[in-house]
Amino acid sequence: MTDFSDAMSVATSGMKAQANRLRHVSENIANTDTPGYQRKTVSFQEMVRDGLTTGAVTTGPMRLDPTALTRIYDPANPLADETGHFDGSNVNLLIEIADAREAQRSYEANLKMFDQVRQMSTALMDLLRN
């Protein structure tokens, strides 16, 4: 039984972590056109409780992508300097969409795992009840 609840909590942690990643991706996409915006990234790590690895996953601290910001030429923009350029964001939409798709797939895998464990324990409970 504890295996089932462990598996369920691990799958839940995976879904939480992927949802958190997706939130950062959507922040990046929303701020694509924000001048000076640096893309946010999170990486995953194993969850450690009381010095022990629990097998669950969590997102690490949020980091800013240090890639150089794009220089946009638009002399009419109030932010433009004397050369007519201003700093855009360093968000690449292609990367963000790919990241979002990967998060979706991983979320699906964890959801599937959760459903499977639930079915297994439900079957066991049904058997014991009847």
């Binding site: 504890t2 295996d3 089932f4 462990d6 022990l52 690895t53 629990t54 097998g55 669950a56 795992m113």
Partner: protein, 102 residues
């Protein structure tokens, strides 16, 4: 009667094994995107049942577990929170370190 009792034991052992395996697979799937995470696997039911031992962790590749000399340390019990033996630095990052910079 005796035979059927053993059958029950086998069936429940199989169910327990399947549950433990499900937990390990869930952990692997949850950590699919974790950098440096190494997938884990438990011994096949056939092997553990005939040996009468608990389900030890089994490496799919040599070098999966740095403490390969003491496989009894790695039990699926650590799904329940027992400490994992200290793992070495992930092989992926090792490879990156040894790659000569161009």
């Amino acid at each position: 009667m005796h035979n059927s009792l053993e059958l029950f034991q086998t069936a429940s052992a199989m169910a327990r094994h399947a549950g433990a395996r499900q937990a390990v697979v869930a952990r692997n799937i949850a950590n699919a995107d974790t950098p440096g995470f190494q997938a884990q696997q438990i011994a096949a039911f056939k092997d553990v049942y005939s040996a009468g031992t608990t389900t030890d962790m089994r490496a799919t590749r040599p070098g999966h577990f740095p403490t390969q000399t003491q496989p009894s340390v790695m039990r699926t019990a650590h799904a329940a929170g027992t400490p994992l033996p200290p793992t070495a630095t992930p092989s992926r990052s090792k490879m990156n370190c040894s790659t000569p910079s161009r």
